[in-house]
């Protein structure tokens, strides 16, 4: 049986892992390669590296970070943040990424999803959606924000996820901005709304605080994978403990 995936996310700035609350107040959380090594030993299923500054000056530093992380793990590696054109995606893949995650660029230039899907296959293209309750234009009750959550994209999250799928996205990485960094639990309503509307896997993100939050998002939220950052970085929740717990809850998990 296909297992539910546990994904560790590292937000990287200037070669260091940082983590904020509701997209603000970034603080340092360690060295990416060192964290990747630990997660690999603990049994993480995938790793995501997001360049949270993504300026031209940091692009080279990001390439070094990707290579350093890829050296540590024999696991799927996704890279996102600042991928605005085919060349950015190619640089990430050349440095060792298996998948790229598009966010702002996918909305401003949806053709990029298709271009990358044709070049690398849909499985390599993740569309990341930062969603907020009652934000902007939202028939489903969830609006979409871009530019690291600072700008209202005037799109509905469910409708945009459907479009991303039809344009060739292989997965949706869905972040609840309301829950990001709060440890109040994933937004299961948001996750279920998107997950039920598409036929590609949905990765839930934002709000992981305790073991039961993961069980909730897999059952009530219909998520295929759950992503967390700070609770893994600071070792509040061990990946191995989490996975054993989820097994006891009857959720299919790789141990």
């Amino acid at each position: 049986m296909l297992t539910k995936r546990i994904i560790a996310c590292m937000d990287v700035r200037d070669g260091q892992v940082v983590k904020g609350v509701q997209f603000q107040q970034l603080r340092h959380a360690g060295d990416p390669a060192e964290l990747a090594r630990r997660y690999n030993v603990e049994g993480i299923d995938e790793i995501v590296v997001l360049d949270v500054t993504a300026t031209l000056e940091t692009r080279r530093a990001l390439r070094n970070t990707i290579s350093a992380v890829a050296k540590e793990i024999f696991l799927p590696l996704t890279v996102g943040g600042g991928i605005r054109a085919e060349d950015d995606a190619a640089a990430a893949v050349d440095a060792g990424a298996d998948k790229v995650s598009l966010n702002t660029a996918a909305l401003s230039n949806p053709g990029l999803i298709t271009t990358l899907a044709n070049r690398y296959g849909s499985q390599a293209v993740i569309v990341a959606i930062d969603a907020k309750r009652r934000g902007g234009t939202s028939d489903s009750g969830f609006g979409v924000f871009v530019r690291s959550g600072t700008a209202d994209a005037a799109r509905d999250a469910v409708e945009w996820a459907r479009e991303a799928e039809s344009r060739g996205a292989g997965e949706i990485l869905l972040t609840s901005m309301d829950r990001d960094g709060t440890r109040a639990g994933f937004d299961c309503d948001l996750t279920a709304a998107v997950s039920d509307a598409v036929n590609i896997p949905v990765i839930a993100s934002g709000g992981a605080g305790g073991l039961e939050h993961f069980a909730d998002v897999f059952t009530r939220g219909h998520a295929d994978a759950a992503l967390a950052a700070s609770i893994f970085h600071y070792a509040d929740t061990g990946v191995a403990d989490l996975k054993r717990y989820l097994r006891t809850q009857g959720i299919p998990i790789r141990l």
């Binding site: 296909l2 297992t3 299923d45 890829a70 024999f74 799927p76 298996d98 296959g121 292989g170 590609i200």
Partner: protein, 206 residues
């Protein structure tokens, strides 16, 4: 032990290369089929679309070079799309000829009866059948990392060496003599995947 990785313009081969180097192999990134001459073993990786990948293999003169490995008795491992290209043909975006090394046809998961999400992404447990050299020292039911929208429908049942259960059984590994294929990514499958690659390197060694 020299292993050539067929490098025909698809990404990402970094992790296959690292895994094989870690296992002590001398790895050659073969950008021209001449580079297969000195290899004891050949790995054919692959991501992306079948038709495009086969067109690249044909344009680079790889097709005959890969087919020659069979009478020469040199082991070949196709990974993911690399396994699918061992088939006779694929239905991905039209019909395309494959390498024809293992009888069968590659079809989209829904055409094979699958009604779950496509692509099939993530870790799924693999059951291998009979004595399968690639799965030596690996417990039945071990999880491997899959990511694919198409799957191998074999022509000869005895070439199926392992399956995985989505809502329908999917072929996870094929073998005909010393031609091997894995639908999953051993190079992305942590320790178990490393053992599969080690088994491939050990195959046929005295």
């Amino acid at each position: 032990m020299t292993v050539a990785i067929v490098s025909y313009g698809v990404n990402n081969i970094g992790s296959v290369r690292r895994a094989l180097v870690d296992l002590g192999a001398d790895v050659v990134l073969a950008e021209h089929h001449d580079a297969l001459a000195g290899a004891d073993r050949v790995v054919l990786p692959g991501v992306g679309a079948f038709g495009e990948a086969m067109a690249r293999l044909r344009a680079g003169g790889w097709v005959d070079a890969l087919r020659r490995l069979v009478p020469q008795g040199r082991p070949l491992l196709g990974i993911c799309l690399g396994m699918q290209m061992l088939a006779d043909s694929s239905d991905e975006n039209g019909t395309h000829d494959g390498l024809g090394l293992i009888a069968g046809r590659v079809r989209r998961l829904d055409a094979l009866g699958c009604s779950l999400r496509i692509p099939h992404v993530g870790w799924n447990d693999v059951e291998y059948h009979g004595a399968s050299p690639l799965f030596a020292k690996i417990p039945q039911g071990t999880d491997f990392y899959f990511v694919h929208s198409y799957a191998f429908e074999v022509g000869l049942p005895d070439t199926v060496r392992a399956t995985t259960a989505y809502d329908v059984p999917l072929v996870a590994s094929v073998q005909r003599e010393h031609v091997f294929g894995t639908q999953f990514h051993p190079e992305k499958s942590s320790r178990a995947g490393r053992q599969v690659l080690k088994n491939f390197l050990d195959y046929g060694r005295c």
